[in-house]
Amino acid sequence: MARVELAVVDDSPAVELEALDQLWFQVAGTVCNLRCKHCFISCAPDNHSFWFMTREQVAEALSQSTELGVKEYYFTGGEPFMNREMEAILADTLEVGPATVLTNATLMPPRRARRLARLNAGSIYTLELRVSLDGITREMNDAIRGEGAFDRCVEGVRRLVEEGFLPIITCMRSWPEDETEDYLEGFRSLLAEVGYHRPRIKILPPLLMGEEAKRTRGYDETEQVTHEMLHGFDLSQLLCTRARLVTARGVYACPILLESPSARLGDTLEEAAGRPARLRESACYTCYLSGAICSNTSSSAGSDR
């Protein structure tokens, strides 16, 4: 009897890398000291599905990146400062370009803040600390990020500000969109209390995946990017046309899709840069609607029309 093979055809749109402007590092793997209820890749102290990157692994990618014309370097996890080599990694990075660390700032003793300030002062490039804080009160934040996270984070921000940093406070929007201005005001008052009088605040749309899908809702099946939706769309708004994510095991299309096997584009940076990314995940829909939410604003100007 003849075997019938059903080939699964992936009809999702594919986009090429236009330029490798941003290089992301999953520098702490999926290891985090917190266990946030909205984490899109469910990072936790015991989530070892992706392990820390070594300084050598990062250095190798940095060296390839200069040939590939990378403009900015981003470090994420998990919590990057769980990686014992993080400061050395930042020192290496700041020799070649600007570095941004996405951190919860709860592992920020004064001596670390001081060392980071020294690294920043010693480079012609900027070191940005992007601090996740998900509420304007202890109750609001800790309901998502866990007990004690608020106090430690706010203290971390204070130390960074004392050292001259202007950390970018990022918050996932967990309120109706029309209340954003009220929350921004709340953040401004809270941050002023720790001496941060000209705060940089970035509100992010929720990604309905990982822990957040359990907390609120998952994507429904209509929330997908289709070929039709890309007609006349400015593709540079999608991070995967401008970035790749290096991890301890393989290179991915973007930092959001770490747990999607189809987003793994190769073993090496060069390989992954040459392969298109498929917009098959529902998270791509959020990126499509909100546009390059992962980038710093200094690099995310709208493109020419």
């Binding site: 330029a19 200069t66 040939e67 014309g69 990378v70 403009k71 900015e72 070649v96 370009g97 600007p98 920043n120 012609i124 490039y125 900027t126 070191l127 940005e128 001259g164 940093f165 202007l166 970018i168 954003t180 201005e181 921004l184 000209r198 940089r200 970035k202 710093n296 604003t297 200094s298 690099s299 995310s300 100007a301 709208g302 493109s303 020419d304 029309r305």
Partner: protein
């Protein structure tokens, strides 16, 4: 741009309707022996009476590279393509854009619609001559920000090589800076004539490129102009007090979100 080899070229960054500074800068550049003056775009925004700056540039026959503001005004787009996301920044950007669009004559808009994205010229002569590429934001994108602290040297070297240029000359960020790229090559950001460089000084800046003994040197030239006359005109035109505060204090008060941490930390706000 033919004839004698160019050894002295003045580049004017974003004018932002500061016709007072524009007049002074042109006269100053001529006095310093600039053979050619070019403008890197963004004639409007921020300041008063946009037609005045346009008229000066046209009278003087100064070639202009297309800035995102000129592109938007010429085409009547709904915003300035600055790409702000902060609500406060967008609020001021909208005031500025709507004012400029409403006060730019159709004749000037038509003139702007012919601005090229790039202007190429050579400085010096013989084997040492350098190919200069002038643009607004970056050679690849009119509104790309190239800040000093977020732009790696290898990235600039790649842009120069990819566009066949020895000298990359742009503006868009509003803060002047330059960096040698090796083998006599340069990136030069001419800064802006329209508003101060967020350094607490009232002067604004233009750039003089000087080619001497086979080498290029960029010089940033401070321009003192009649700040109070401009402030009075901005007041009469109903422009926001925050803009007037900027030209009086030398510190940016709006559109701050796009600044990288280091540049932001050097300012007051």
């Amino acid at each position: 741009m033919s004839g004698e080899p160019l050894t002295r070229v003045a580049a004017l960054g974003g004018i932002y309707s500061n016709h007072q500074a524009l007049r002074v800068a042109i006269d100053d550049a001529r006095e310093r022996g600039a053979q050619v003056i070019i403008c890197l775009g963004d004639l409007g925004a921020f300041g008063p009476s946009p037609d005045k700056s346009a008229a000066i540039l046209r009278e003087e026959g100064i070639p202009v590279v297309r800035g995102n503001y000129d592109d938007s005004i010429a085409r009547g787009l709904e915003d300035c393509q600055c790409g702000y996301t902060d609500p406060r920044d967008n609020h001021y950007a909208r005031i500025s854009y709507e004012y400029t669009l409403a006060n730019t004559s159709s004749e000037h808009r038509e003139w702007m619609s012919d601005f090229p994205h790039h202007i190429r010229f050579r400085m010096g002569a013989g084997p040492e001559a350098l190919a200069v590429l002038a643009f607004h934001g970056s050679p690849r994108r009119m509104n790309e920000f190239l800040w000093e602290t977020t732009t790696p040297t290898h990235f600039l070297q790649g842009l120069a090589a990819g566009h066949g240029a020895d000298v990359l000359l742009g503006t868009h960020t509003g803060i002047h800076w330059s960096r040698p790229l090796g083998r006599g090559r340069w990136y030069v950001n001419a800064g802006a004539l329209g508003r101060p460089a967020n350094d607490g000084r009232r002067e604004v800046w233009y750039t003089l490129l000087e080619f001497q003994d086979g080498h290029l040197e960029p010089h940033f030239v401070p321009v003192s102009y009649d700040v109070e006359a401009l402030a009075d005109e901005m007041l009469d035109e109903g422009l926001p007090d925050e803009f007037i505060e900027t030209i009086r204090s030398g510190w940016w008060t709006t559109c701050l979100e796009v600044l990288p941490g280091k540049e932001r930390a050097r300012g007051r706000w």
